[in-house]
Subunit: 459 residues, 2 copies
């Protein structure tokens, strides 16, 4: 781990976050960073990713560390590197140097943490080694999948209220992640004409991210089978009539994420049917972004996307009826079965480790409606929130061949007409949109999304 002074005042940013937390809660907090997990043997480790809650208040991707927050004070707990580790890992920054950089009020060895646990709240990290330690030290079960209770729940709610809107320190990082992700997508488009496999396009995209000394914020989707929504296979050949759907995002060294999807034609030219559907999805995307401003309900943005897609599919003769009525019966979800987007921040689905506590306004719950159940965010928007807008159109066999759905929607789908769009398996267009006081700013706007410009970037 090397200390990068990515913004001049990391310590100031962290101090500001602690003060805001202290305004909300009056008990001490201990947050663990987590530790690496072994891949196939103990010395061969999977890439380390610290807990996002730790990163938010500690700033740096420290391993096997903890911080204690109380009344705006920050204490850092970690071991100094062993002298013998210098042989293998070189000179690493000492605890006191790190403490100074992050503006900690005190720095102590991890072994002393046990004396500072009283009445402290925490949030479970993801790796079993660390949540076992959390549980043992705090003498209660601290499990990632457990429902939060008591002061842990109060802490989670307080952190959510901070992390829901981004401060300047966060935005600097989020803009860096967005810029590298834009460059990655351009590289993917440019690499397509010479590529024969999905994997080669993925390599061009992730190469940009690696070259920027960043990581992917999630496992990339780079596929000609966009109809498989979470497709993590890259072995398919690229055929001239295929569309490449690429959902790839970078994450900065401090852990802040971007998340972009583009869909482009392998041959550099959309077929007429592909372009028709592409423009329906783009119309939904643009309409949603135009509507984003504080106080607007994100659930209404989702319904707007559904309505614009339904309208577009009516115009193309694929759906029949009135758009609002079709959305009412979830007919849009035959082709747009997921939500319009999600929170974005340190996590690509920000704070999803807390379940729907961050995504759903207090008192609201997931719908069990076919067209609403996958919505990850259901809150009024506020200035400083960062959300994705990612409408899509997919011909998912598991949906379109479902006997019950075919009966239910027999009168609203023109299957004959739909069969003419067989070369459109999946299209998604996703951008990262910051809610501002006056409306919105698209952090990923440097990446074109209109069909003509996308074609030009490919060929």
């Amino acid at each position: 781990m090397v200390i990068h002074n990515t913004y001049s005042s990391l310590a100031d940013t962290l101090s500001y976050r602690r003060q805001r937390l202290a305004n909300l809660i009056d008990f001490p907090v201990i947050l663990w960073s987590g530790s690496s997990s072994p891949r196939n043997f103990p010395a061969n480790l999977l890439p380390f990713r610290p807990s996002s809650h730790f990163l938010y208040f500690a700033g740096l991707p420290l391993q096997n560390a903890a911080i204690r927050l109380e009344s705006g004070k920050l204490e850092l707990f970690m071991e100094d590197p062993k002298p013998s580790s210098a042989l293998w890992h070189g000179e690493m920054p000492k605890r006191d140097e790190i403490a100074q950089q992050i503006g900690a009020d005190a720095a102590k060895p991890m072994s002393e943490l046990e004396f500072f646990l009283e009445d402290a709240a925490t949030i479970a990290v993801q790796d079993a080694g660390t949540w076992t330690q959390q549980s043992q030290l705090l003498n209660r079960w601290v499990l990632p999948q457990n429902p939060l209770q008591g002061i842990d729940l109060e802490l989670a709610k307080a952190i959510i209220s901070l992390r829901l809107t981004h401060d300047e320190g966060a935005l600097i990082e989020l803009r860096k992640a967005a810029a590298v992700t834009v460059a990655a997508h351009k590289a993917g488009m440019a690499a397509t004409s010479k590529a024969t496999l999905e994997a080669e396009v993925r390599a061009a995209m992730e190469g940009v991210i690696i070259a920027s000394n960043m990581t992917t914020s999630y496992n990339s989707i780079v596929t000609v089978h966009g109809e498989v929504l979470h497709n993590e296979q890259y072995h398919h050949p690229l055929q001239p009539n295929d569309l490449v759907l690429a959902d790839v995002g970078a994450e900065t060294e401090m852990g802040w994420a971007a998340d972009i999807t583009r869909t482009w034609p392998v041959a550099g030219k959309f077929s007429p049917t592909q372009k028709d559907i592409y423009n329906v999805v783009l119309a939904a995307h643009d309409a949603c972004i135009a509507k984003i401003r504080p106080e607007v309900e994100y659930g209404d943005i989702h319904l707007l996307a559904a309505t614009v897609i339904a309208e577009g599919l009516i115009d193309l003769g694929i759906l029949q009826g009135n758009a609002e009525d079709l959305v009412e019966i979830d007919a849009h979800a035959l082709f747009f079965p997921h939500g319009i987007g999600h929170l974005l921040g340190l996590d690509v689905h920000d704070m999803e480790d807390l379940g729907d506590l961050a995504g759903y306004e207090a008192g609201r719950q997931r719908s069990d409606r076919f067209g609403l159940g996958y919505l990850r965010l259901n809150r009024p928007l506020r200035s400083g929130m960062l959300v994705t807008i990612e409408p899509g159109f997919y011909q998912v066999p598991a949906i379109l061949n479902d006997a019950n759905l075919r009966v239910k929607y027999q009168n609203v789908v023109n299957w004959q007409r739909l069969s003419q769009f067989a070369d459109v398996r999946g299209i998604r267009i996703e951008d990262d949109v910051l809610v501002t006081a006056s409306g919105s700013e698209v952090l990923t706007a440097a990446l074109p999304n209109d069909a003509d410009t996308v074609e030009n970037l490919v060929s």
Copy 2:
């Protein structure tokens, strides 16, 4: 997961391995594949890597599966994909299809495994979720770090005796990994002149691996600070007088690894001092490979490398005395502090999850000598073994500035002369060498390692 028929007779290879196992043990065996670990929230997973022991007998990178081996029979235990998963993950191969491809004699749901546990031996996987499950089902602690006992120890010894030498199915995969790794290193050399950061060279190398739909078999080392032996930082700028040390290896989809190190000059031209040391390391590398054949002790190969390096450093005026005497007192380890290499197979340090059980012949233990303690392999070579040969020269501050070592070796190091080699921080040359009946075959020979050709590949 998609089924690739990477070699025509996966089932035959697996059957052969089972028969060999059945010749060694007479109790049933259950091997678990393991499961993915979450990154920062449960739906965002770290890359999945199955247990190597499972891969050896099951062939395919299945998740949340187990196999039972008894008397040469193979039973597969896994759940069929849920119908609802087709929406997100597409149609996945069913248990019975997978069972057929791997030649299983039976296929059952995971939930039935509990009825087939009696008297079964196992080996712990690395992920906590799965070793907890192993422990619960077998009603004993099955922990990755526990010393093996009883039938588990017998099983480990039997598996080691199989995996120590590679069958044809394994060699096909190992050659593929080597070929892609060779291409990755060539790409790294070619990218250096336009690169400004280590990260950009790493991106060019890993890009080749990703484009081949493979993964890295370990976290890449791509650094101008080769003196930090396990350097996983990539942010340093490339200066014209720097050497890039790149230790990068690919792993096939079925889990078989390669492991190559090259060291090249950023400017495409070694300085005279860099070339002098480079040629010392290369001489050691070549001498070791020339000596490899069945029955030769790998420990003697290590001592040969130490001796050749000592001789070279004497010739350069850095060390003083007689090479054999210097090796006797571990003076070589001031500059070559690690072992000459290790086993290579499904793991980059093959079977290191079993500690030194695979690397060390029965009855042998690690030396505590400065110049021998890091040796990972200490056995007589046998035809079919794959080992790395990776001599190096490093100026590690933690060693060369160590007061005790400076006193101990005050009469054998010419510090004045050494100071003229300040532009050589670290050099390593590593190839993957298959022991054959008549000697050896370098699987990574397609990648040049002589100084002139390396210079040409860079510039």
